[in-house]
Homo-oligomer: 337 residues x 2
């Protein structure tokens, strides 16, 4: 089997580490491995298949002879370096929001729209964490009964922000339990024992960019440019695992048991839905898994064909690293790499 | 000014304590004060206006010569003892769900429907915490443009369950931070660093009773028996302050700035809505306040006249004690006590 020279930009971060972990777990045919980060993190090491690899400062020359680059760094890094990598012949899988809505850049969740990879021009975008887990559930429902409208509210873990946010949650929690005040650096307010209805920047209309991403990316991935959808995104004091309360209105009747059957058969989705046994998706149980959990599937009586669903996924795995690695696997399978 | 002999059933609990605190703060004319609880808590004391009052085991005879009883105990206590209290001439303000949907029992949020108190038959119900804060915001919007549909998802604090849940959250959090496993007793799963889409019992349809309460109680309080409304309720690892992501569809256009003006003028509601300054309602800031905070008021583009709102309130105060004490004040003002 052919192997590929792989690079990871942002290799010092939570998602960068997770990409290395998932590449190894899934046995992706990694030939050479180049790890990059900012100057600040250069010289650190990250582990791949039990060996330590030194992280270098990211620069265009390092992309020479690289087949595939995962960008798991800032939007600025993707903006500056992804075109350089493509120019040098690499295919880029970008975890940042930079190119997601760019015409001609495939935005891919392999279980949902892998055919969008065909004819790519070097950069492939992986969607926002909160979008990925939602479309995994929406797409199979939509194939059964077209979606008329989606209303989603999220409960997002701090690891989505990065390692320093996880550390801040822990530090604030320790301080508050000890009767000391909490210090906020990463977020504008205390996150421990609190909820922030604020993820990413605000637009002039009062939406957050996270909410806009969920709307626009869902429409692009599902090829439904006019899908009526609204989102409210909130950060909660959990470490890993985003939860979503998803309300859908469908074009025709779909009983909860039918929705359960459809979702049980959907790739990447596991139905966890037995309330009588206290079984429903939980962030602590989704953490470490690659599948997206869905439960609390029930009728919404407020519209003719409404359903409520509760969707939980590991935001670092399927929401980031796993989806990116699956894109790589799909590129190989479709002979696009 | 006339004073009233007051009793509190459930005086050892979080809400019972908070009722005593709020009665004192607001200068309710308390004459005699009788505190009751289960046999297990009898003999404990609770503080009222700086003096310690001994809690007695609840029994019918203790309601003799009592004018007003707050029930802040279990549904079973209300079921058994509230009719006894009424028979002995007391007026009951019941915080439990027992009589809320009973025909002829007023279910009251004074800012919204205090006229429902007229003609009461001795028992007045105070709504569920998550309902109260929502109707405070829905009612003024509805008067401006009739509500067509409501979709709500909640983020509820553990103090809504009681003192033992707050202790469990703290104990689990300490254990997990120390690398020890968490033990769950109060909830079926770990609540620390987790989210449970499960509040109160499940119905055969897969809704929780908390969700059913939000639907039915909102309809009753607002006298809109057919209001299309659906709810998803979740417990989050916060101590005090329920948050709600409220999506409304109105019968006519209402610009966010107009909604802000209406809500700024609404009694019991404070608008906190300046995203550019990171100002939006937070549980830790709602805690200890009697007003309900609303912010993130913005257009929902997925329907013709949609709005999203983020509503936060202290579930022990306006969600429980303050609303009950306000009902008592309103009874006095309307000469119904």
């Amino acid at each position: 089997m052919r192997s590929y020279n792989v690079a990871v930009v942002g290799a010092a971060g939570l998602v960068g580490h997770k990409i290395l972990e998932v590449l190894a777990e899934r046995g992706f045919p990694v030939g050479g491995l180049t790890l990059m980060a900012t100057a600040r993190s250069a010289g650190q090491t990250a582990e791949f298949q039990g060996r330590k690899v030194t992280i270098q400062e990211a620069q265009p020359e390092l992309f020479d002879r690289v087949d595939l680059v995962f960008f798991a760094a800032t939007g600025a890094a993707s903006q500056n370096l992804a075109p350089e990598a493509v120019r040098r012949g690499a295919v880029v899988i970008d975890k940042s929001a930079t190119f997601r809505m760019t015409e001609g850049v495939p935005l891919v969740v392999p279980e949902v729209n892998q055919e969008a990879l065909d004819g790519h021009r070097g950069i492939i975008a992986s969607p926002n964490c909160s979008t990925i887990q939602m479309v995994l559930v929406l797409a199979p429902l939509h194939r059964a009964r077209p979606l008329k409208r989606v209303v989603v509210s999220t409960y997002q873990a701090v690891s989505g922000t990065g390692r320093e946010a996880v550390e801040e949650l822990d530090a604030q929690t320790r301080d508050l339990l000890a009767g000391r005040p909490a210090t906020a650096n990463v977020y504008p307010h205390q996150i421990a024992f609190n909820i922030l209805p604020h993820i990413d920047k605000f637009t002039p209309d009062g939406d957050t960019l996270e909410e806009i991403k969920m709307i626009q990316e869902t429409r692009k991935i599902m090829s439904l440019p006019d899908l009526p959808i609204t989102a409210t995104t909130a950060r909660v004091p959990t470490r890993v695992g985003h939860a979503e309360s998803v309300n859908v209105e469908l074009a025709g009747p779909l009983a909860p048991e039918e929705a359960r059957a459809i979702l049980s058969a959907a790739p990447g989705v596991t139905v966890v839905d037995d309330p009588s046994a206290n079984l429903y998706p939980l962030p602590i149980e989704a953490a470490g898994r690659d599948d997206t959990l869905v439960g609390r599937i029930r009728r919404d009586q407020s519209v003719p064909h409404g359903l409520n669903l509760w969707v939980v996924s590991d935001n670092l795995r399927k929401g980031a690293a796993t989806n990116a690695v699956q894109i790589a696997e799909t590129l190989v399978a479709r002979k696009l790499l």
